[in-house]
Point group: C2
Chain length 177, copies 2
DNA sequence: CGATCGGTTGATATGAATCAACGTGCGTGG
DNA sequence: CCACGCACGTTGATTCATATCAACCGATCG
């Protein structure tokens, strides 16, 4: 991954929820195109390269530009789809399932963007970020990842994820829907 | 509320996550306008009145109809906003907070649609639905609602929610963002 | 070379799940 | 019209998954 960022909400009680991760080529937020005031924040995990568009400019060009319209619709649909997946994970699934789900989700998105060798993915996250994304504590994330490591499913350290047993990881994390 | 429905995903393990509730006037799903295959299901809680639109028809009229474009954009933004709220609730908040949040969210949406008397809201849900929406068991939902009742915050039975202490309910459930 | 950060590990605490029993209202069929 | 069954909710006892608290370790960095 060339760079990585995330969108999150800081909860008054001190916790935060990571709402999604942003990868190269992602629209930062489809809603942001239409809404002036945003309820969330965003932060990069690496150096990142952003392109900005004026809201007025987009709106002006949008009506007569079917390709832009289609791109926005597609981005919006993907956001909704991903949000549904995370809600399902957070609401109904165990710690192991959530973490496996997150890894699977990320490696799938990364795979559409770059060629992957030996199932190694650059994923510059700390366990804290995983915890904030899947609604667990960093301590518990550490335990689950250790468990995965002991079972030979993955290696994860130094910002690199290596998948060693994809079928089993999928069995745990996938919803296959 | 004249009628009520919800959008949900059936998890292979037998649980289900309610992704959102649909109220009169809501677009069923913005994504459904563009995508052929949907990953979720929907169900009504009461008799409901639906209007259908052909996907082709919408697409054809969409380019040259700025009002429709705006309506879709607005609906899509609201969906994303609500999804963020639920992800935050599911990921970071306690059982009491989640349930208070859900009630607040629903009464707010209902209030924009009908005139409310005496803080009484028709809300034809079973505790099972609340449980499926906020990621708890029906048993625990029952306990929390009893607690709220004992503290004089709400009454909830027979499909009617009566709010008795809105400030306190808000203090518990609101994120005030 | 000490300090800080991220991760690991162990002990204990706790919120919510699970298991189970019971109550109540309601619809249905005898 | 009664009796039974069923859906829904309540309540108590217990279990379990994850949080919390705390100590420690290794790497990195000023």
């Amino acid at each position: 991954m060339r760079w990585l960022a995330f969108r999150f909400f800081q909860v008054p009680n001190g916790r935060r929820q990571i709402l999604n991760f942003l990868l190269p080529g992602d629209l930062f937020s489809t809603v942001a195109v239409f809404e002036e005031r945003l309820h969330f924040s965003a932060q990069t995990l690496t150096e990142a390269r952003l392109s900005g568009f004026g809201r007025a400019e987009i709106k002006a060009r949008w009506a007569d530009n079917p390709r832009m319209t289609a791109a926005l619709a597609k981005s919006s649909a993907a956001e909704a789809y991903n949000a549904d997946g995370l809600m399902i994970a957070l609401g109904q699934r165990s710690a192991e399932e959530r973490i496996a789900y997150l890894f699977l989700h990320l490696i799938q998105r990364i795979s559409t963007r770059s060629v992957i060798r030996d199932q190694r993915y650059r994923l510059p996250l700390r366990q804290q970020h995983i915890a904030d994304a899947v609604g667990l504590t960093p301590v518990h994330v550490s335990r689950v990842i250790s468990l995965f490591r002991d079972r030979g499913l993955i290696e994860f350290s130094g910002g690199v994820l290596q998948v060693l047993n994809l079928p089993e990881l999928s069995r745990i994390g996938s919803l296959d829907y």
